[in-house]
């Protein structure tokens, strides 16, 4: 048990913080822990969590993706065209939406790897392109998603929010196998030391492109889940999600220098961030003060997470972090 804690210290701390925040949220919410309240909370969390997971894969290989929000906007606009039919159409439509994200991510990866340009700039530029395409599709917000399908994805199954079930499936069915596979290990290896990874025979270029494509896929998933929740297409959703996804992975204990952290951490970070803002909404604080408090809490959480630096005896250790 202690071993488990040692290996997942970052996730454990994040989980405790989330648990405390969520308890506070349920306690202050006028309707308590009803299925309805939890479903809405889980839906909001899952959108940001998927965006944070998208950011996670790119950050893991020492990148940063400033196009997460843009890919979400693009797949959201695609969804508002293809998720209108029924039956098999919906099935292919959902795949098309997620594939849109994968393609965008793969494009980012190809430019980063073969163009040898820093990820932050590449994704800044491609983000602009993706937003442009999204605007071509939906100059003004509009379109609809099949309501029955959207409902099925955003309500609850036997009292458990569908969003929570999706999370569980992702973690157990996708993350744990991936983490143990060669590809998962290669992600961590490249993030920890690219040279060592290269010398131990990992094809660094391919794996890095895979990481970007995987990030794009999750951004596509985030975009499609956003579509289920809002049931419409809007090209203007990008800015918030990009920056929040970065804040979320950091809160979840993922190191921006690569190689450290897990998908669970990204998920927890996103939930913490979202719970803080939901908490504000029902806290009875003056509405005008809420953005400030939200900012201070975010900054405080990040600062506390880094406060171990103050305990370091040797000034030189600080530089190795």
């Amino acid at each position: 048990m202690l071993d488990l804690y040692k290996h997942h210290r970052r996730e454990c701390i994040a989980f405790i913080v989330l648990f405390a925040l969520l308890s506070l949220y349920i306690a202050t919410h006028p309707r308590g822990a009803s299925t309805y309240v939890m479903t809405i909370w889980a839906n909001q969390c899952l959108i940001l969590a998927l965006a944070a997971m998208a950011q996670f894969f790119v950050v893991l290989v020492r990148g940063i993706d400033l196009s997460v929000g843009a890919i979400m906007a693009l797949s959201n606009c695609v969804a508002s065209y293809v998720l209108v039919g029924s039956g098999i159409d919906l099935f292919y439509g959902s795949i098309a939406v997620v594939l849109t994200g994968t393609l965008c991510g793969a494009l980012n990866g190809l430019i980063v790897v073969y163009g040898r340009i820093q990820p932050i700039i590449v994704t800044l530029a491609t983000g602009s392109v993706f937003i442009g395409i999204a605007l071509l599709l939906r100059p003004t917000p509009g379109g609809t998603i099949n309501y029955d399908f959207a409902d099925a994805m955003t309500l609850d199954i036997a009292g458990i929010p569908t969003a929570v079930i999706i999370c569980a499936v992702l973690l157990i069915g996708f993350w744990i196998p991936l983490r143990r596979s060669g590809l998962g290990r290669a992600f961590y290896a490249i993030g920890s030391s690219e040279q060592a990874a290269f010398q131990s025979g990992i094809s660094v270029n391919t794996v890095r492109i895979f990481a970007f494509a995987m990030g794009g896929t999750f951004a596509g998933l985030a975009g499609s889940y956003f579509s289920y929740v809002t049931a419409t297409g809007d090209a203007g959703i990008a800015a918030n999600f990009t920056l929040n996804s970065i804040a979320a992975v950091v809160l979840g204990g993922v190191a921006l220098s690569g190689g450290v952290g897990s998908l669970v951490g990204a998920l927890l970070g996103a939930c913490i961030l979202k719970t803080i803002s939901s908490l504000m909404f029902f806290s009875g604080l003056p509405p005008l003060a809420q953005p400030l408090i939200e900012g201070v809490v975010l900054a405080g959480a990040i600062a506390i997470g880094s406060s171990e630096v103050l305990r370091m005896k040797n000034r030189l250790q600080v530089f190795d972090r």
Binding site: Q118, S128, I246, P291, R315, V318
Partner: protein, 321 residues
């Protein structure tokens, strides 16, 4: 360094900085074959004025990026400075009116100190910390203005700074160039510029060789904050008011301008002259795209594609060198 090596080093740096200028001239000449007005003195002088707003911000951003950090608090430092200066200039008190501009600049430097505390003391990744600072500033602004457009107006001094002219040359452009000159001298004199780049290359080695890295990082963020604040003052003088989220459209173009100017986003390498060229390129590119009445969607797409192309050309050229 031997004589030829020194010469090669300086010529490489020269070509790096000259690249965006060549691209800018080619772009203007190309565009003038469709619209001859692009070559008129009036248009170019007006663009010099517009470019100055982005230009002063990008000068500060260059200094932080040379360190290997990034300042994402630009939007609300700019907005906050604009709000402070217009609020003070709009009062009846002569002293407050006179102090409007210095107070705004001091505000920018103060935010720089806060950025420095997180980045230099707590060693939080600058990308996350400055983002959190930005959201706190947003919170303060919302609390202060109640979410409405802040009251106040620009003082005559601010209007002159932004829209005045000296012998046909826009005053804003003169301020931009003067600031560039001051910073250039400051960087070259006393080794400050060398400390910046060497921290960007290897912070530990710089610290071990006796440089007070803390002081350098703090001062760099203070300069960057003051530059963003100056941008806010100029913009407020230009629009004769401050408005909500006036800084948002300046964050991404700033980074793009610095990188197109040949500064490495990883730090350690870059020039102020290159950044000025990058700003000219970005400003003219967006101006040409909007004069040609291209829809917002296509503007985004072309903007992104051109930035990627520019960076690909840079890498190709470097490989050959």
């Amino acid at each position: 360094m031997s004589n030829t090596a020194t010469a090669r080093f300086y010529s490489a740096e020269f070509f790096e900085a000259a690249f965006p200028y060549v691209a800018t001239v080619l772009m203007i000449l190309g565009a003038s074959t469709f619209f001859p007005e692009f070559l008129s003195a009036n248009y170019l002088l007006q663009q010099m004025q517009i470019a100055a707003f982005l230009g002063v911000i990008a000068l500060g951003a260059t200094i932080v990026i040379l360190l290997g950090h990034i300042d994402l608090s630009v939007p609300w430092v700019l907005g906050g400075a604009a709000i402070i200066s217009t609020a003070m200039a709009g009062s009846d008190n002569a002293i407050l009116i006179a102090l409007a501009v210095p107070a705004a600049l001091a505000f920018g430097a103060l935010v720089g100190v806060v950025n420095g505390i997180g980045v230099a003391w707590f060693r939080i990744p600058s990308m996350v910390w400055t983002l959190a600072v930005n959201s706190m500033l947003l919170g303060v602004a919302v609390l202060n203005t109640g979410g409405f457009n802040p009251k106040g107006e620009a003082s005559p001094l601010m209007v002159t700074m932004a829209s005045g002219k000296i012998a046909q040359i826009p005053m804003a452009f003169v301020i931009w160039m003067a600031l560039a000159l001051i910073l250039f001298v400051f960087l070259k004199r006393g080794g400050y510029g060398r400390y910046l780049s060497s921290i960007g290359f290897n912070e530990k080695a710089t610290y071990l060789s006796g440089v007070s890295t803390l002081r350098v990082i703090f001062s760099a963020f203070m300069i960057a904050g003051a530059c963003s604040a100056l941008g806010g003052v100029l913009l407020a003088g230009y629009a004769n008011q401050a408005y909500q989220s006036m800084g948002d459209p300046y964050l991404m173009p700033t980074i793009a301008a610095v990188v197109i100017g040949g500064t490495s986003i990883l730090g350690g390498k870059g020039t102020l002259a290159g950044t000025i060229g990058g700003v000219a390129f970005i400003t003219l590119l967006s101006s040409i795209l909007s004069v040609m009445q291209i829809s917002e969607a296509w503007r985004n797409i072309i903007f992104g594609c051109i930035i990627i192309t520019m960076l690909l050309l840079q890498t190709l050229r470097r490989k050959r060198v």
